[in-house]
Structure formats: C-alpha cells, structure tokens
C-alpha cells in the first residue's frame, strides 16, 4: 500500500496527474470507500486492503470530463470494465493514468458475519488468516473463506489495460463460474419461479446495484426518465418490482464484464450476478466464448453479425 501512495505522490507532485482515484478508510474497519485525492495531505487517508472491492472504472466516466489526467488504481477484474467503457466511448483513455494493482482476492464482510463473528472492532491479516477483534473476544477466519463469491470464480489476475503495474497477485479461482446458473437451469419452471420470487422479493429498490454497475452508465436511466412508462411501472407491484432486475439484466447483456459489484453492494444479499451469468453462459454456448472487456475493440456477439451465428430457431428450441 505504501508503494501505491508513494507513486501517487510522485505523479501528483510532477504534475503528470491532476488527481488520484483510489480508496480511503471508512468509518468501520471493513468499509473503505472510493475517493479522490488531490495532494499528499489527502493521500494520508488512502487505503488498499482486502476490503477495497469497489471497482473504480465507472468513476472514470466523470473523471474523463475533468481537466488533466486522473490516476486510477484498477484491480485486474476492474480493467475489463474500463475496456468495456472505452469500447462504448464513455471513458477517455487519454485522461487516465492506470496503475494496475495486485489482487489476491477481495473480502466479503457478509461472509465473515455469516460465520457468526459479530461486534467487529478491528481486522488484520496474518498468514492467510483474518485476525478479528470483536466486542466478544478474538476470532480468526481463513482468508479464502471470507472472500467474495466473484473472487472464487476470478477471471484471472492479468490486467487488460494499464500504464504501470504495482504489487503481486495470487490466483483465487477455485470454483466453476457457471455452477450457480447450471443449478437453476436444472430446476422446473415452478421451482425457478419460486426461487426468484424468494430472492427478488427481498429487493428494496435502493438502486445500489444499478448505481454501482459500470455497464449501467446511461446518462439517464430508463427507470428514472419520465420519457418512458417504465419509471413508474418498476415498483407498482411485486411483479413489476422483479421486472426491474430482469430489464436491467437485459440492458447489460453482452456488456456486463461479470465484475460482481451488483451482488457485492446489494444490502439484501440477492445473488444478482446470476442473471448476468445466465446471459454470459447463453452467449458462450450460442456464439462462442466471449468476455466483455477483454479488449476495447472486439464487437460483442449481440451487436455483431456473422454467418456462424445461431439461427433464431435454434435459440427458440433450446429455450
């Protein structure tokens, strides 16, 4: 972390960048938040630890409009989002100085809490273990156990776009990415409906998933615009409430990089990434393997045509 701060200070000092986009400590030991830093003084509150899951790519949309370059710290998976945003002309590569930071998996405070640990006062890492001091005594939990779901199905520790790299990464992928989707696919329609009913009925329409999503970067969201009837429709009753998530999944289909931010920020713990992964699995099966954001040029299969594309009939029969 000190290396990141040092490099950031240098670049600020020599005028290469006008500001730094990183994470600063929050009010709790496990909730650092995205922040701008404009001088060394401000950089004192900079942190980079296991809880810095926030994907900073989306903030670069606004940062691209500001004077001068912005130094942004991107984890390997965040760079996919940055590429996708570049492809869609939403961020300006020229306005970004990208430092690719090492990543050995990000932590999920909910996973820690699920293991029964409460009243957390401080968290520190030691030899692959999290040492947790709580009001009720000391606890420990293995790092892997406390990791976000998305890190267990990590898409790799290679940065897809960067100006320089700092820090080491460690492989964390130890599960099958589409296992959750396959499980749901095997359900009967009634079971599926019941499953989604159960999950989506928790939604409180706080819009956190949408606000954090790098693919949900429309200037004006269809759910907020009075130009469409969807603004009112989306929460008039429980059925339409669910439509919000389905429409959102359709809107990001083929563009979602599977960064997992939607599920990370959901206060109700809805596994929203499963919707997006269903689309990814279908795209892979129908059009060949594709990962949004791998580069900033390749057209996505849903917005490109080739003679090898699956015929609509094939898609319809397959369901």
């Amino acid at each position: 972390m000190q290396e990141l701060v040092k490099r950031a200070s240098e670049l600020l000092a020599d005028g290469s960048v006008a500001r730094v986009l990183g994470w600063k400590a929050g009010d709790l030991p496990y909730n650092p938040e995205p922040a701008y830093f404009e001088n060394e003084e401000q950089l004192r509150s900079f942190v980079y630890n296991g809880f810095c899951g926030a994907n900073l790519s989306k903030y670069m949309i606004e940062a691209s409009k500001l004077e001068g370059k912005t130094l942004v710290f991107l984890k390997p998976c965040d760079t996919y989002s940055f590429n996708q945003l570049m492809k869609e002309y939403r961020v300006d590569r020229e306005k970004a100085w990208i430092i690719g930071v090492g990543c050995r998996g990000k932590l999920d405070i909910e996973a820690v809490k699920r293991s029964g640990i409460k009243g957390i006062e401080s968290i520190s890492e030691e030899d692959g273990e999290l040492k947790i001091k709580t009001l009720y005594g000391d606890h420990s939990i293995s790092y892997a156990e406390a990791m976000l779901e998305r890190c267990h199905s990590c898409k790799g520790k290679e940065h897809r776009v960067y100006d320089e790299l700092i820090g080491e990464s460690e492989e964390t992928n130890d599960s099958e990415r589409f296992a959750g989707v396959t499980e749901i696919e095997a359900m009967s329609p009634e079971e599926k409906f019941a499953y989604f009913q159960k999950e989506l009925s928790k939604c409180i329409r706080c819009n956190a998933c949408r606000n954090v999503c790098p693919a949900c970067s429309c200037r004006k969201c269809v759910f907020d615009s009075n130009k469409f009837d969807s603004a009112q429709k989306a929460n008039t009753d429980s059925f339409e409430e669910k439509m919000f998530h389905i429409i959102r999944a359709f809107h990001v289909a083929g563009r979602c990089t599977d960064c997992g931010e939607c599920s990370r920020v959901c206060p109700e713990g809805i596994p929203l990434h499963l919707f997006n992964r269903k689309f990814m699995k279908d795209i892979d099966e129908l059009y060949g393997e594709f990962r949004a954001g791998e580069d900033a040029e390749t057209k996505g299969p849903l917005t490109d045509f080739t003679f090898e594309d699956a015929e609509p009939g094939v898609v319809a029969e397959r369901g």
Binding site: K65, K87, E88, Y89, R90, S217, C218, R219, K220, C221, V222, S225, K227, F228, D229, H251, V252, R255, K299, L302, T303, D304, F305, F307
Partner: protein
C-alpha cells in the same frame, strides 16, 4: 387531444361472418379520443373511402383507425384517402381484423372479442401518432443479376433491352446453368443447347450486359435504388484479355483425373478447364486445388504451351464494388443429396443414377458420348426402372415435403426418348401421381404411355438391391393391382428432388431477403407479387423462388425484369418516413446502435447539448434518414432508450400492448 374516427369493414362477409362488426364500432366509441365509429360493407371501395373523407371533414378527425384486412393489402389505399381528406397519411392505423380474427376464428364471440381488442390497440397507437413526411432518394440506373442460368440470362436480356446496364454474377466458370447440362427439353424435345446457346451468346454480346463469371457476391449494403455490392472475381489464373480459347492448355494439362462438375461427376476433366464446349466466356480457369503447379510448385506446362501468354499463376481474387438500383436473384437449384436414401442403393451401385446424371449420359458431349449404357460395365441395358418422387413429397424428414414439379415431365421425356432410340429396352416408371398440368404436357405424357409403350406403375419402390450378377433387384408395390412386384433391372434412374442452390441462404442474408423453411426465397405476396421479394428492390427469378420448369422460369424471368425496369425507370423514390431518431439528451454515444445498423445509417458527432442547463459537448448518434430503412434494430439495442423509430415509437408499442392487456 386527437379526434379519432374508427371505420370497421365487413369485407363482404369475409369479416362480418365471424366478427360482429357493429359491436366493434360501438365498443370503439367508448375509447378515449374516439369521436366517430361506423361499419361498412367494403371500406376499400370508392364509397367506403368517401365515408372516411366525409367523416374527416364533418367530425374534424385528426386520426383514423381502419379495422379491415392486412395493412399489406390496403394501408396505402387508406393513407391516400386520408391525404385527400387533408390529414397526414401517417395518421392512419390499420387493425387487421380479417387475417387476425375472422379468418382464424370460427366462433363469432371469440372473433369479435379479439377484433375489439385489436381496434383498441390501434386506437391507443394512433393517439400517439404524429404527422410524418417522406423524403426522396435517387435511383442508380443499373441492375445486378445473381446467377447466370436461363433465369438470370433472360432477366438480364430483358432489362438490357429496355436500355439499362446489367451485370450478371455467376459463380461457375461459365454462364448457362442447369439448362446447359440438359440434353433435350420437354414437351417439344428440342435440344437444350440449341435453344440455350443463342441466349448465352446474345447476353455475352449485348453492349448493356456485363458478365462476371467465376465470381460471387461478397457483400451488399444500401437499399432499394441505391445498393452497393462487392463482387469477388475469383482468380481465374488465366488472363481473359489474352486467352484465345484454343484449348491447348486443357489438352496438355497432366492433371486429368478430376471429377467433372458439369458431367455430375460421371466424367473427368483437367485442372485447367472450360466446363463445356459452348462455355461463355470460352476462357478456362485453373482449379488451384487440383493443379500440380499450385500444389507442388512444379509443372507449369499450361504456361509453356499457351501461345497467347495468357496463363498467370500470380492472379489474385479481385473485389469490384459497384452500385445498383435493383437486384435480381436467380440462383437456381441443385438436386438433393441422397445419402439418407439407402434403400435406392445410389451410393452402392454405379447403375443407380439421378435423372440429371441420365441427362449427361444421354448427351452427345456426355461421359458416354450419348450412348445409353450401364456405367458399371458399359453394357446396353435391357430393363430400366424410373423411380419418381425420390425425396419429393416426402414426409419422413429425409427429403422435401414439396413437389419438385419437373420430374413427371422429364421422366416421361427420358422414357420416351429411350423407347424411341432403343425400342428393345423395357422402361418401367413407378409413380405416386403423374402430374402434368401445362400446355401440351398431358398430351406429351400420354404419348409416352400410348405410343411408346412405357410401363407406368402406380406405387412406390421399397428397395433396390444390387445382386451378385450385376443386376438390380427392384422391390415395389403395384397399388392398382394390389400386389407386390419383384423385378430385375439393369439401370435405375431416380427422379431426385430439387432444392435451392446451396449458397442462397448466404445471399438472402446479405440482401435481407426472407427465405422459407426449404430455403426458397419468399415472394412479397404469393399471388399478387410473385416475383418481388418482401425486401424492396430485390426481385426473384427462376427456381430460387420455387420449383419450376423452363417455360415458367423464362416467363418469371421476364416478369422480374419488368419489375426491375419499373424501378430503374424512376428518377426518384419516396423514402419511408418511419426512420429512427436519436434523442440527444438520452444518447450515451456508445456506438452500439451504429454497430448493429445494417444500412450504415448511423454516424456520431460531437455536439454541444443543453441538458437542463448543463451545457456540454457530447458524442451523439445521428441518423441519416435517406439511408435508414426503419428496421428498428437500433431501437432495441440502445441501452438508454435514446433511439426511437418514428411511427413505431416505444411509447406507441407499449400503448398498444397496454391496450391489449387492459
């Protein structure tokens, strides 16, 4: 607020027999904005249209809903009526209560209920309609004909005769197509080459016709009146300007054992070859896959023997980009593969052949120089069996469900010719039905039976089994006599089903022309617009549209030409005003719409916008109305909903859905 009039048509009794038209009119009156509703026997008649124009004037209507037949029939009629009455033609909506209600329902209550709902949807939509004005686009006075068989040749000749430039693109080395492979033609028995080659020569000599052989269409963009087409001229390896057509290269070519496509694999050709003697152009091509020079780098004999110095191994594919106002598809057909028809032993015995192969056998330039002989041992056959409907009218999913239409006649022709030339050969034809409608067709078939003694047996063949003695054992059933037949034959000829040429799917996709489940191109209307594709500016000629014989093909080729000429003769075309439009305040500038636009109609510009007081330069999508064809692909792909289709806006469609679901 709109003032809407609803006009419900009886269509004689076509609609009123299954839909309570009066009730539809009454119920429409309850909808918001509707100030007038009436029903009438024939809304499309002059009297019917007069009722509309009168109501517009009397009730000061601003929008019209006509509940009638499909908009494909009479939308233009009613739009014109609206215009005459002084309101914008795009303020008219059609509720199709004939095809969607009366024709598919038997129960009047159900039909009426659905008609009321569809009327409601149309009313909801017209409430949100806005006047639209069509633009104009130019017409390139040049036509493209894809395929150089008899259909393509005839279409090209007719268009050229009207004074327009025509390009023919033919994928094989010569024009002529399937007809050039035929020996004689029914019902007059004149030689196919004798009547085809004059047409080929005429096309090639015509100063308005330009022929690209050994070429394929690579890419098509644009729209009616203004298509841009990339044509790939495959490397011929022979300089067409220098070659004299002497044929020495083919003669001296050491690679001679290549299966001849022209002779349906029954003969051999060399690696440098012209497919047949009357080929146009009379310039060979080097088949690079089989040429020793291209395979090993050694040889080069053709280059050495060519006096004209025309052989050029360095030639590369050339892409020619040309503009066209109209495109005619004349891609023709092939026979189906018989791999799934094991019972006829086609793959096991050389003496089981298809009818098209028999054409080559009977032809003087064919593999047997026109002698009827068994291909296994060269012996003259004594007993021949013809099997009809091999893969046609087939419901087993191995073949085609349709009738290939030409087989009954050509089999009668083959049978008659064989009995005429070889009277000692017994000919038996197994058939499901003999179908011979057409001028002088039935007379022709009866001659085969009555004068030439061809033995027609109604019944299908179950199995053809090659015997150790070289004979073919044919197991069949005689349905009229109700008995099993077991007979030996020396040769079996299969009237194999025909299907559209393999590449047609790709061409149809490039042209955005629709095709049916059998890969035949779909016509705009099966009865009233049989030579037009639903895609404007694309016309259909010959078997690519459906099975047909030579007289029908030539007739259709002429019709397609007339339609193309009608288009080329226009100075300007009115464009469809239902084009896409981007809302600059909602546009993200993400380029997704430009990626999916098949017409290249969307570009981006940096424009200063005023978004509720925030002034900034944004990347905004801009639609070129002359290029946009209103397909709507951009509107569904736009994540922010900034793209909308005028006349079919998202709001209008949602209003329709809401009205239906109410």
């Amino acid at each position: 607020m709109q003032r809407i009039g609803v006009f419900v048509c009886h269509c004689g009794s076509n609609i009123s027999a299954t839909v309570d038209v009066e009730k539809v009119a009454q119920m429409s009156l309850l909808e918001p904005g509707v100030v007038h509703a009436e029903d009438y026997q024939y809304m499309c008649s002059e009297a019917g249209q007069a009722r509309i124009t009168e109501a517009v004037k009397e009730k000061k209507l601003t929008g019209i809903v006509v509940c009638s037949c499909s908009p494909r029939m009479h939308e233009t009629t009613f739009r014109n009526a609206a215009e005459r009455a002084g309101i914008n033609p795009y303020m008219v909506e059609i509720a199709n209560i004939r095809e969607h209600c009366s024709w598919i329902h038997k129960n009047i209550e159900e039909g009426t209920e659905k008609a009321i709902i569809l009327a409601r949807a149309a009313i909801a939509k017209v409430t949100l309609n806005a006047p639209l004005k069509p633009g104009e686009s130019r017409v390139t006075k040049r036509a493209l004909v894809i395929g150089g068989g008899i259909a393509g040749i005839q279409t090209a000749l007719d268009i050229a005769e009207a004074g327009y430039e025509v390009d023919i693109v033919e994928k094989t080395p010569s024009i002529g197509g399937r007809m050039s492979q035929l020996d004689k033609t029914f019902p007059t028995l004149d030689c196919s080459a004798c009547i085809l080659t004059p047409k080929m020569v005429e096309a090639s000599a015509h100063d308005k016709i330009n022929i690209y052989t050994y070429s394929e269409v690579d890419q098509v963009s644009g729209f009616v009146g203004d298509f841009t087409v990339d044509i790939r001229k495959k490397a011929r390896s022979i300089n067409m300007d220098k070659c004299t057509g002497c044929g020495v290269c083919s003669e001296k070519c050491p690679s001679k054992k290549i299966s001849s496509e022209f002779n349906r694999g029954l003969g051999k050709r060399s690696a440098v070859y012209t497919p047949f003697a009357q080929a146009i152009p009379n310039v060979p091509v080097i088949d690079r896959e089989n040429c020793i020079k291209f395979k090993t780098g050694k040889c080069g004999i053709c280059e050495k023997v060519c006096q004209a110095g025309a052989v050029d191994y360095t030639q590369e594919d050339e892409i020619i980009t040309e503009k066209y106002g109209a495109i005619v598809v004349a891609t023709g057909f092939d026979t189906i593969k018989l791999d799934d028809f094991d019972e006829y032993a086609y793959n096991q015995s050389k003496d089981v052949i298809t009818s098209l192969e028999l054409e080559r056998v009977m032809n003087a330039a064919g593999p047997t120089k026109g002698h009827l002989e068994r291909l296994s041992d060269g012996k003259a056959p004594k007993n021949m069996v013809f099997i009809q409907c091999v893969g046609s009218r087939d419901v087993t999913c191995r073949g085609k469900v349709y009738c290939s239409k030409i087989c009954c006649m050509y089999t009668a022709k083959h049978a008659m010719l064989i009995r005429d030339k070889y009277p000692d050969v017994n000919v038996t034809v197994f058939y499901i039905d003999v179908r011979t409608p057409g001028k002088n067709f039935d007379e022709f078939y009866r001659r085969a039976v009555e004068e030439y003694g061809v033995n027609y047996v109604k019944g299908q063949v179950g199995k053809v089994a090659p015997q150790a003695n070289g004979q073919l054992l044919v197991q069949a059933v005689d349905l009229l006599d109700n008995k099993q037949i077991l007979m030996e034959a020396d040769m079996v000829v299969l009237a194999t089903a025909i299907e559209p040429e393999a590449g047609v799917r790709k061409i149809a996709t490039m042209l955005t022309a629709s095709i049916d489940t059998n890969n035949f191109l779909t016509e705009a209307h099966p009865k009233l617009r049989p030579v037009e594709s639903p895609t404007a500016g694309v016309f259909l000629s010959g078997v690519c549209q459906g099975p047909k014989d030579i007289p029908e093909t030539v007739a259709q080729a002429g019709s397609a030409a007339v339609k193309a000429i009608g288009l080329l003769a226009k100075e300007k075309l009115m464009t469809n005003p239902c084009t896409a439009k981007s809302d600059e305040l909602l546009c993200n500038g993400c380029s997704t719409c430009a990626n999916v636009c098949p017409y290249g109609a969307i570009t981006y510009e940096d424009r200063e916008v005023n978004d509720h007081g925030i002034r900034e330069v944004r990347r905004i999508a801009v639609v070129n109305n002359a290029l946009c064809q209103g397909c709507g692909a951009c509107t569904v792909t736009c994540p922010s909903g900034a793209m909308d289709l005028q006349g079919f806006s998202n709001r209008q469609i949602i209003a329709e859905v809401d009205a239906i679901c109410r």
